[in-house]
């Protein structure tokens, strides 16, 4: 049971590390999108600070989205996914392993570089702390929701953008709550309630998403 989970994680990590750029890619994408904005807007620190949480969150959302496909698509094409369904373990359990790996490869690196970007966008310490917390709770939800989207579209020849169509509306609440929390932090207001809400959403997602993913995969593979 646990061994199977770990095996799946190891395999996915190995596959990703083999193509070394693959680990860095989502982060690079994240960084580039975030830097695009100051370039377009020009240097107006106050304005930047005002929209910074938004930019960072949208960038995180897009980076996560872009790397989602990798989660299952490759496995689908080469038949590994079929084989995964033919192991005696619960599919929901195995896909959790895949989602976890995805978070390790996108969510975690984004967390690590977020201080850098906070500096770019001249965020202050309190706001940054709130940003970090929301990213910490929010990115796993993105991975789980993304898992559903990818599982639904993996069998289609052209899933790519359909995935974003499905995914983005689903992840809007996370975006809104997170930016609300960060804004609240910026104004020195308490934002624990919002974080708790995000946490509740994370719990809900952890409980239900694996089953939704497994069910969707069964549809996509057959």
């Amino acid at each position: 049971m646990f061994d199977a989970f770990i095996q799946v994680v190891i395999k996915d990590l190995k596959t990703a590390f083999r193509q070394k750029s693959d680990i860095l890619n989502p982060v690079w994408f994240f960084i580039i999108v975030v830097t695009l904005f100051p370039l377009g807007i020009g240097s107006a620190p106050a304005l930047l600070r005002r929209i910074a949480p938004d930019i960072i969150w949208v960038a995180a959302l897009l980076a996560s989205l872009l790397s989602f496909e990798r989660l299952f698509k490759d496995d689908f094409i080469d038949g590994t996914l079929e084989q995964l369904m033919l192991t005696p373990y619960s599919l929901a359990w195995l896909v959790s392993a895949k989602v976890f790996t995805h978070w390790l490869l996108t969510g975690l690196p984004i967390l690590f570089v977020s201080p850098l970007l906070a500096t770019f966008l001249s965020l202050d310490m309190t706001t940054y702390f709130a940003l970090f917390l929301t990213l910490l709770i929010g990115t796993p939800i993105l991975s789980l929701l993304g898992g559903i989207g990818v599982a639904l579209t993996v069998g289609l020849r052209k899933g790519g953008i359909l995935l974003s169509l499905i995914m983005l509306p689903l992840s809007i609440p996370i975006l809104i709550f997170s930016t609300m929390a960060i804004d609240a932090a910026g104004y020195g207001q308490p934002y624990l309630g919002l974080l708790a809400l995000l946490g509740a959403m994370l719990l809900g997602a952890i409980m239900f998403a694996p089953f939704a993913i497994a069910a969707s995969l069964r549809v996509s593979v057959s």
Binding site: A4, K14, L86
Partner: protein, 237 residues
């Protein structure tokens, strides 16, 4: 008198033994399978049983539904009607224990192009828990990949890639093998080895179903055939 009694006793014993074997025996029953794809009826009310020691070749021209039949059996898609029983139990409702006994090799080989041959097999071995004892380097040597153990699959030739997928046949203890055109892009000596392996597996009480369009050497005399034919237009369900 004593003789008759003992004889009767032994006969009873024998009967019970066969009954027991019959009950416990590995067995796949496909009952009244009907397969519909995109509104086309591929086959209708297909019924056959595979038992321990059987080698079944599914035969039929291109597009007749061999791959579709395999996918029905392993539960990757659901039949329009009919059911598949493994050890008398429905495979759909009891898929966990069925999948434990099943090895499937499809048109897609199910190996990761970014991993090496060794890593691929290791993953397979760990996921199926069984046969931990087997030395994978040994197995890779058996499939003729000495020297390619640490090469990334994507850099192997078509046949070599297929060989990695086939290496799984050496590291599993599943009785039921479903092999969809296992011999494609495998060279002649490779095919001969595979044939021997399949025969051996059946002798050890395994069940094998496979498809192929090639001429084989040993197998033709040993297989039972399920022949699929294109349905006439009238065959709407």
């Amino acid at each position: 008198m004593v003789n008759i009694k003992t004889a009767l006793f032994f006969i009873a014993l024998l009967i019970f033994y066969y009954l027991f074997v019959w009950l416990v025996n590995l067995m796949l029953n496909c009952k009244n399978l009907t397969c519909v794809r995109e509104g086309n009826v591929l086959f209708k009310n297909l019924t056959f049983n595979v038992q321990a020691g059987d080698i079944f070749q599914i035969e039929g021209e291109n597009g007749v539904g061999k791959t579709s039949l395999f996918r029905l059996i392993i539960g990757l898609s659901l039949p329009y009607s009919g059911e598949i029983l493994w050890q008398k139990k429905n495979t759909v409702s009891d898929s966990g224990s069925f999948h434990q006994k099943l090895l499937y090799l499809g048109h897609k080989s199910g190996i990761k192009a970014d991993l090496t041959a060794f890593e691929n097999l290791q993953y397979f071995q760990r996921m199926h828990q069984s046969y931990d004892g087997v030395d994978l380097w040994d197995v890779l040597a058996k499939v003729g990949l000495v020297g390619y153990e640490d090469v990334i699959i994507g850099q192997l030739s078509a046949g070599q890639q297929r060989r990695v997928a086939l290496a799984r046949l050496w590291i599993n203890d599943c009785p039921l093998w479903l092999l969809d055109e296992p011999f494609t892009t495998i060279d002649k000596s490779g095919v001969a080895v595979l044939e021997k392996l399949i025969v051996q597996h059946a002798k050890n009480g395994g069940l094998v179903m496979f498809t192929t369009h090639q001429e084989l050497q040993i197998l033709p005399n040993l297989v039972s055939k399920v022949v699929l034919t294109k349905l006439e237009q009238a065959h709407y369900v």
